[in-house]
Amino acid sequence: MADTRRRTLLLLPTWAVIGVLMLIPVLLMAVYSFLTKEFRGGVEWQFSLAAYDQFFLTRGLFGDEPAAIEWTYINIFWRSIWQAALATLLCLMIGFPTAWFIATRPPSSRAIWLFLITVPYWVNLLIRTVSLKFLIRDNGPLNEFLIALNLIDNPLPLVNTNLAVQLGLFYSYLPFMVLPIYAAVERYDTALSEAAADLYASRWTTLREIILPVVKPGIVAGCILVFVPSLGAFLAPDLLGGAKTFMIGSLIDEQFRGSQGNWPFGAAVSMVLMTLVLIVLMFHARAQGSRR
């Protein structure tokens, strides 16, 4: 009995943190999304479905036409999903070999490689994103380098493109891919690869049928850790992209800025985003659960 009570007591801080920092804000967001907007930002405590209506439906410019599906925000979502998926794929393609390389170094030098991976992340994300913009702008080092090599005549217009946003997302979240995969690969028993080769599997078959399935939990964790924050990112699209590369994060960010904002709408967009993420995670959980 005393044991149970002590356990409860010891877990109290954790529950408090989860409650105060996670549940209450999410509940607040859910409540706000069903309230009426106030014009200088903030909310009026009056129930309204206006925010969701604005997100999903359109009634024409003057609001007098029959309700039809509003594509503007759905398109922003679609573009965000697409961008985040691409960033995840890019991170996976670069992150997996990187993680493999580090995990196969002698134990003494692994710590150094991991340290080098994390060093850039000691600098604030905003600063890093601005630096990236500086690197790829028209008369920035990258373009001048390419011109000096005579590979191109005119600077490549990289800033304000989807490619720049991609680069930004990729650069921001790469370690979140590398670290979980590293953890999985480091535990991988190379005798399994030898056993596969012993049983007549080619290198390619060994990768596909043995290595990838065994380190899959690390890959899935890395993909979730990159995909989810990429989906809601707003720094990279804001700083590196333009109007054409508007993402969900920027849309939400805009709703809570100054007097132009619309808190209930921002909250509603957040709720839709969270629902999407939960659906992704549920699929993941089900895939994990169905494994014997």
Binding site: A191, A195, A196, A197, D198, L199, Y200, K216, R292
Partner: protein, 349 residues
């Protein structure tokens, strides 16, 4: 009987360390062959060279007359039972056993049937759908065996497969392994550091030390006629004493041991100071013989172990069966030891 694996002047180096020094070895087809030695003696390296997991730095490895030294592991018709089994954790027992057959291109029906028969052979028929993590160590061991035997290799390599099992299971598996080898009619190359394991299962044993083969022979030859101090000491228990060899004829050698002149089977050595070995069970208490003082008597259940000291200061152990009628000597007692002459072995170093 043909030769299954012929190793000629194999050399393997890791950086500045030489793991194998010019090893030559011919292994008969359809034999249970054991590579025996302490850790770091090169036995596992030799096995890995045969399996193709390491490249030789010199020499040839012939499998049924064909040089395989530069073939990848997946091109060699040998299979391996790994030390910690290396079962694929994400596959069921049946999928594990069928993996090699799948890689060989058998269709699903054929490989399921064969994998099922293999599981039957190792008494695991009811476990086909389990994951390796749901099996005990002994069961995993048998899955590893079934998996390696399924593609019908002509040579099976076993890398200390019993070392992770507890004693009872290990003893049962020894018999089972030997039976499997005889039933399947293929060559087993078995690596172990356990001399008892080697003696009970093998047709022939190669005792290895420091990257070379010290002695090659049947279990009886290795145990009863060790050629040097390493082999005598590593296999079983023994007494090693210094002796002065006076003359070596074709059949016998004459030598003096602790003041007594004795004869023993000859060896290819010249007269001079040499070491001789005698097993403790071949030394008996007698009315006359080498004078010694009893230091300690150890009770071992079936046996009694008596540690004595000779007048020269050398230790001599003897083992007597605890047959009931024996009264063990008291510590401090003066006794005489009889050495069975045929059991004395002259050692090359």
């Amino acid at each position: 009987m043909g030769i299954a694996v012929d190793i000629r002047h194999a050399v393997k180096r890791y950086g500045t360390v030489t793991a194998l020094h010019d090893v030559s070895l011919a292994i008969d087809d359809n034999a249970f062959f054991t590579l025996l030695g302490p850790s770091g003696c090169g036995k596992t390296t030799l096995l890995r060279l045969i399996g193709g997991f390491e490249e030789t730095d010199g020499g040839e490895i012939l499998l049924f007359g064909q040089d395989i030294a530069h073939l990848e592991p997946n091109q060699r018709p040998v299979n391996t039972v790994f030390q910690n089994y290396a079962l694929f954790p994400h596959m069921s027992v049946l999928e594990n056993v069928a993996f090699g057959l799948k890689m060989k291109g058998l269709d699903t029906a054929a490989r399921t049937a064969r994998a099922g028969r293999m599981l039957e052979m190792v008494h695991l028929s009811g476990y086909a759908d389990r994951l390796p993590s749901q099996l005990s160590g002994g069961q995993q061991q048998r899955v590893a065996l079934a998996r390696a035997l399924a593609p019908e290799p002509r040579v099976l390599l076993l890398d200390e497969p019993l070392s992770a099992l507890d004693l009872k299971l290990r003893q049962a598996m020894r018999v089972e392994l030997k039976t499997l080898q005889e039933e399947n009619g293929i060559t087993f190359i078995f690596v172990t550091h356990d001399q008892e394991e080697a003696l009970t299962m093998s047709d022939r044993i190669a005792v290895m030390h420091a990257g070379t083969i010290q002695q090659l022979g049947t279990p009886r030859e290795i145990y009863e006629a060790p050629v040097n101090r390493f082999v005598a000491d590593f296999i079983g228990e023994t007494n090693i004493l210094e002796a002065e060899v006076h003359a070596v004829s074709q059949l016998t050698a004459t030598l003096s041991l602790a003041g007594q002149t004795v004869t023993c089977p000859a060896a290819a050595i010249t007269p001079g100071r040499h070491h001789v070995s005698i097993r403790p069970e071949r030394v008996t208490l007698a009315a006359s013989g080498l004078a010694a003082t009893v230091e300690r008597v150890i009770y071992l259940g079936t046996d009694l172990h008596v540690i004595t000291r000779l007048s020269t200061g050398a230790e001599m152990r003897l083992r007597m069966q605890n047959a009931g009628r024996v009264t063990p000597p008291e510590p401090g007692a003066a006794v005489h030891l009889h050495l069975e002459e045929g059991a004395l072995r002259l050692l090359a170093d």
